[in-house]
């Protein structure tokens, strides 16, 4: 079973994502509401995939992404972002994010992107 860490500062968003992923048979091993926790949990849990919101209360998602990649270059990261953040998303993709999901997202879309990302080597 694939293990996923959810990074999002909104409890509502985390709950929705967690339900979608858990229902689909993924194991949501952790949830981080800010960048600091996200970095710590990624190191500690070594998930198969991280879903990363780009706007966080302490650092930007971009900083978190760079932090993760510096320690674990192979970590799979999928960006979750609302519309209007295209600049950041583009920069994230250049910095090693595998894919991005645009909020509001549909369940099918999330699962499609996540399963695709997990397949990639």
């Amino acid at each position: 079973m694939k293990r996923i860490l959810i990074v999002d500062d909104s409890f509502y968003m985390r709950t929705m994502l967690k339900n979608m992923l858990t229902d689909a048979g993924y194991d949501v091993v952790g949830e981080a509401p800010n960048g600091q926790t996200a970095l710590e949990l990624t190191k500690e849990l070594v998930p198969d995939l991280v879903t990363l919101d780009v706007i966080l209360p302490d650092n930007t998602g971009l900083d978190v992404l760079k932090g993760i990649k510096a320690e674990q270059p192979d970590m799979k990261v999928v960006i979750v972002s609302a519309v209007g953040q295209e600049v950041i998303v583009n920069e994230a993709m250049e910095n090693g994010a595998l894919a991005y999901i645009v909020k509001p997202f549909s369940e099918e879309k999330v699962l499609e992107i996540v399963s695709q990302a997990l397949k990639e080597e």
């Binding site: 079973m1 293990r3 500062d9 909104s10 409890f11 509502y12 968003m13 709950t15 929705m16 967690k18 339900n19 858990t22 229902d23 048979g25 993924y26 194991d27 949501v28 091993v29 706007i55 966080l56 209360p57 609302a82 909020k103 509001p104 997202f105």
Partner: protein, 550 residues
């Protein structure tokens, strides 16, 4: 009952109100420190989340207003818009509007937001720093601002337990008063007692409702547990979960947590084979485990299925004989489902034969006790080589359950509706004496029928289940109960109404008496015995076997 939608909505509102409070705080600070980038970033983040969440859940007005405010603040952040007094006023009003929209999510009568305010927001967002723009005065529709606290409170479960106990006591007294008022024929008392009846019921269901949680709160722990056990056992297991949204009393969930964990652990450790063994048997290397919850009438059913090696019935039968639970002859004729039910016998689990071959035994009596203690049912179905399914039938709420009241030999009894299939009235001529028991045709199905007086009150040596002449009266009231997929008709002396009862468990030393699941106090103050259907069925079967063996 709370659906997942309802839960999402509650979370959304609680979080949105938090954001709203924080926005108000930050925006006031910003007035004092308009250049504070950190504050601006925080306000931007809050609005951004509110926009995204509102859009996801479908509150488009909230997401629209958040979006406009978010844009305004991003302009301020980029120094493209001055944080002037005029702009501040509009932004404050915008935030207020957000608060109003959040508070009125459920208010169908809430009208449209003030168009002037929306236009002002548009002007700020679109016209950039054109100093000539006219910001129209907004009519303040809400001069006295309400202070509001979060709509959700956390509560300790023991406080809810206490409430439930109190309401249980109240229900008993309520029944008492209702029955007294019936006797007294006092109109005023009747009115008061019928009102008391209604509000007590309402209170009871409200408290029961407050205790309900989604089964998902337990299920979500299993992916990790299954993974860990499977890794330790060097097995490959694919877990499927379904029915997260099913609601159940928090304490019932608590009580069966260990049992479920136990069953899951058993299924992986003893049920599912190692990948190489599975391949040899022509099964996929990865074992399948599924945990499914569903609503079943008033109850909740939880089913755990594995596709492992299954239980070897011949070993179970052998163990039953070895443990002197039944004679060789009796075991031979024991239906498979009955034989499997012996797995729940205390001590049976220790039978070495069973653990070696099927490994199912360990502690199943403990699981059964837990399920019994909350008035549930547990059943196991298994096919050697194919897999095993455990089915737990659980009441949705602990304290109060629907039951059928009746009388046998001047003793009051109740049977929880979870075990009753139907009630039929039949003439004695429709009952037939077959093979030492009575049978009846109920809607095309042949059902064994037993006179409860015979089962409960005739000297054990003199029991005769097949003698119609012992029945009193022409028409017999029969309660059809079911246990382990087998139906049994119970003939009672007098049938009373269906009623919600508060079951009090029997204290030691009587708690070990299987036949009674507890007692309940009737409105008259008298004690009514709650019959345990599984135990009654087992008792009937064992008596019948004893008689047949003689």
């Amino acid at each position: 009952m709370k659906s997942r939608e309802q839960e999402y909505k509650e979370i959304f509102i609680a979080e949105a109100l938090e954001y709203f409070d924080a926005l108000n705080r930050h925006i006031s600070d910003l007035e004092k420190r308009p250049q504070d980038d950190q504050l601006l970033a925080e306000i931007f983040r809050l609005l951004h989340n509110l926009k995204a969440n509102a859009k996801a859940i479908g509150y488009l007005r909230i997401s629209d207003v958040s979006h406009k405010l978010e844009t305004a603040f991003s302009l301020i952040r980029n120094r493209e818009l001055q944080f002037s007094d005029e702009v501040v006023t509009v932004l404050f009003e915008g935030v207020d509007l957000l608060g109003e929209l959040i508070h009125n999510i459920d208010n169908e009568n809430y009208g449209e937001p003030d168009p002037v305010l929306l236009r002002n927001l548009d002007i700020i967002v679109d016209n950039l720093s054109d100093s000539t723009i006219e910001l129209a005065k907004v009519r303040r529709y809400n001069t006295s601002k309400n202070l509001s606290l979060s709509e959700l409170v956390y509560i300790q479960i023991k406080k809810l337990d206490h409430l439930l106990n109190l309401v249980g006591e109240l229900v008993i007294d309520r029944d008492r008063i209702v029955s007294i008022s019936r006797e007294l024929e006092n109109d005023e008392l009747k009115v008061v007692s019928s009102h008391l009846n209604r509000i007590t019921e309402d209170l009871q269901y409200s408290i029961m409702d407050a205790r309900l949680v989604s089964i998902g709160s337990l299920f979500n722990k299993f992916p990790r547990i299954v993974r860990d056990i499977a890794t330790a056992e060097k097995k490959e297991v694919d877990l499927t979960l379904a029915g997260h949204d099913i609601q159940i009393d928090r304490n019932i969930l608590q009580i069966i947590t260990d049992s479920l964990l136990h069953l899951v652990r058993n299924a992986i450790t003893h049920g599912i084979e190692k990948p190489e063994q599975r391949i040899k048997k022509g099964k996929p290397a990865t074992g399948k485990l599924s945990l499914v919850a569903r609503n079943d009438r008033e109850n909740v059913q939880i089913q755990l299925t594995d596709d492992g090696r299954g239980i070897d019935l011949s070993q179970v039968r052998k163990a039953i004989v070895d443990r002197n639970l039944l004679s060789n002859a009796a075991v031979e004729h024991l239906p498979d489902t009955e034989a499997l039910s012996y797995l729940f016998e205390p001590g049976f689990s220790l039978a070495k034969e069973v653990t070696e071959f099927s490994g199912r035994g360990v502690g199943l009596d403990v699981v059964k006790n837990a399920v019994d203690s909350i008035g549930g049912r547990i059943r196991v179905d298994s096919k050697k080589g194919v897999g095993t399914t455990f089915t737990l039938q659980l009441p949705t709420s602990i304290a109060v359950k629907g039951a059928l009241l009746f009388e046998v030999d001047e003793i009051f009894y109740a049977i929880p509706l979870i075990h009753t299939e139907q009630v039929v009235a039949m003439e004695v001529s429709e009952l037939h004496e077959v093979g030492g028991v009575l049978v009846a045709d109920v809607l095309g199905e042949t059902i064994t029928v037993v006179y409860l007086h015979e089962l409960l009150n005739v000297k054990e040596q003199e029991i005769n289940f097949g003698d119609k002449t012992k029945l009193k009266g022409l028409v017999q009231n029969i309660i059809i109960v079911s246990y382990n997929n087998r139906k049994l008709g119970l003939i009672v002396d007098k049938l009373y109404r269906q009623q919600d009862i508060v079951v009090k468990p029997l204290n030691k030393p009587l708690d070990t008496i299987d036949l009674y699941g507890g007692v309940t106090l009737l409105g008259s103050g008298s004690v009514c015995l709650v019959l345990d259907v599984p135990a009654i069925t087992r008792y009937f079967i064992s008596k019948r076997q004893t008689i047949a063996a003689e």
